[in-house]
């Protein structure tokens, strides 16, 4: 992606990548802030009496495996395989949504479900945003830029694992214990 008004010559690619790398770190900090706040809200909201735990569909294990594979591929510099895994992850997430819908878990049914749909959707957007950057890197796949893709993919995986753990383990009972709400 040429984000500059002025074409960049080869000797400056290193400086350019340093800037991109710093910008990427800053962006990941923003995303961390965003999802931390969502998770805080999740815990607070789930501590209320109307919250009910929802069963996690098995498809999520598939998506976790696919995303892990994508992270490994990116680390090994296999740009195409890594990107394909991210797309596979989105498909697996979609099937998980379908499974939940089939089980009558609706967006408005209870807060655990509302948060599940909202946060998986936002994480999906985060993945999709990564794919846009990935498509741009394909145009000029330097080692530095591939490494940045890998960093982004590792972050996607880390964030997804945190979310998955939160959905699975921070049940309403746990949330009430955290918030000190007496049942």
């Amino acid at each position: 992606m040429n984000t500059s008004a002025v074409p960049l010559n080869a000797p400056d690619e290193a400086a350019r990548e340093r800037a991109l790398s710093a910008g990427l770190w800053a962006f990941l900090v923003v995303v961390t802030s965003l999802f931390s706040l969502f998770l805080t809200a999740y815990v607070m909201r789930l501590s209320s009496p109307d919250a009910v735990a929802i069963e996690m569909p098995w498809q999520l294990w598939v998506s976790t495996a696919v995303l892990t594979l994508g992270s490994v591929m990116m680390q090994r510099g296999q740009l195409n395989a890594g990107g394909a895994c991210a797309m596979g992850f989105l498909v697996a997430q979609w099937t998980a949504w379908q499974a939940l819908q089939a089980a009558n878990v609706t967006l408005t049914g209870n807060p655990a479900a509302s948060f599940f749909y909202l946060l998986t959707a936002l994480h999906g957007l985060h993945v999709a945003g990564g794919l846009v950057a990935w498509a741009n890197v394909q145009a000029a796949p330097t080692p530095g830029r591939i490494a940045m893709c890998a960093r982004y993919w590792h972050y996607l995986l880390l964030l997804w694992v945190v979310l998955f753990m939160a959905f699975s383990w921070i049940t309403p009972e746990v949330a009430r214990a955290i918030c000190g709400v007496k049942p």
């Binding site: 500059s4 800037a19 923003v30 969502f38 607070m44 807060p111 509302s114």
Partner: protein, 586 residues
Amino acid sequence: MAYVIPTRPDDESHHAPQSFWTRYVWSQDHKVIAVQYGCTAIAVGLVGLVLSNLMRLQLGFPGQFAFINAERYYQFVTMHGMIMVIYLLTALFLGGFGNYLIPLMVGARDMVFPYLNMLSFWFYLLSVVVLIASFFVPGGPTGAGWTLYPPQAILPGTPGHDWGIIVMLVSLLIFIVAATMGGLNYVTTVLQARCEGMTLLRMPLSVWGIFTATILALLAFPALFVSGVMMLFDKVLGTSFFMPSLVSMGQLSAHQGGSPLLFQHLFWFFGHPEVYIVALPAFGIVSDLISVHARKAIFGYRTMVWAIVAIGGLSFVVWAHHMFVSGMNPYFGFFFATSTLIIAVPTAIKVYNWLLTLWRGDIHLSVPMLFALAFMLTFLLGGLTGLFLGNVSVDIPLSGTYFVVAHFHMVMGVAPLLVVFGGIYHWFPKITGRMLDDRLGHLHFWVTFLGTYAIFFPMHYLGLLGMPRRYHHFTDYEFIPASAHAFNAWITVIALIVGAVQLVFVFNLLWSAFRGRKADPNPWQAASLEWATPETPPAHGNWGRDLPVVHRWAYAYSVPGAPRDFIPQDAPSKEGGAEPTYGGAA
């Protein structure tokens, strides 16, 4: 460290955008984007100003202006608050001043991601267009108050509960995207694109203030994003993140179990850092104005930097002082009152350092300096009433009164705006190559400065009298004495005059941009780097063929033995004026 966009002289014509469209509309030049941000912010700020005058007409002369009914009044209040805090001040300090000053002050050719920078402006413009569109949707803009508290924000009975609130939330989400794109740019540019010799502790305090405020924005705006998205879901898709089960208009709502308090926590986790997103750039800019126009090095540069950083950090642990009346565990109240009062310590350090900078300085009462001095006074007074309100037991009786209106207008309305004006008078010659008219500037200053005191001083008194805020009119309330009505009429008259004089300022901007006196490249004899560009206004790429090299801090004023009373940052080392060393660490 140096991020260098290559420029060979023969390439210059090839690279600089040529057509009108790429140069001034789809521009990726930080200076043009800064002006675009600035003009948009001032335009939408004028809308906010008109709204405030309409509110004052109703309060000063209740019933005389029939079209300002209660519903419209609340819509004006809401839009005024949101416009002034977010779309004017935040956008102007970060998008306007940040964009213009950061690359020039750190010696960069542009922001590191110019394309993203352009997108940032266009998203901001889109958010403003969407915001203004809410005046034209069915039911008008939201009248929920600028804090948009649920459940009332989306329930029947609140003006604009149908479309207005949706449009407002969408506009805010777009604004956050714009601010994030800009913010990533500012932070990365400061970290990566400083020229040779420009260490972090040689940066002007303007850059430090904007840099720290940008970090706050990057961390705090997500809280507004989270609350905005969840409220949008509650409103449009029927979830119950914030909406409790309740009876509205005789109907049991479909919502259940949601927590309005959760929204307040999220909103103020954004809302309090937001105060410092506006205040820190103001602190930084005012430090530079005082130093330049008093011809003295800023007193305690390093403590100023650490104070900025400390205030930024503390601003994340005080948010619940906005919620004392919402009810909370007394231990929490104690914690938040204490953390709030602790913020006064680094803030007081800054005020003392400004005073000590002035002490025995060669003070030039130019228009920017007048605004800077007025800021110090206003911020001090607004800050002192903040100490009152930071205490739970004082806050609870005063929270619903005009005392709070007076406090926050002084501290985060008038004070930062005075810096905005001072900054514009100061840097206008660099931006346009022409001086703003001095006589109009003095007129603008004195009417604005004295006028805002005449407006907000009485409000402290009205608040102590118990005059409640958020009321559409104050007739027929026995506890409000006749003197309060007289005061309200007085405030309105002054507010109209202060409003009108802002038009003089806008006229001055427009007239001087084309007809003003030609400016010297460095009319204030300032030492910082932005005044050392080869051209004024600076050309595309800012620095001509070679990037500047910096040899000292930006505050080498009145150095003994120097031929002039300032030494530019990029003058050779042998001219002296190096920053003081601290324990040999510098």
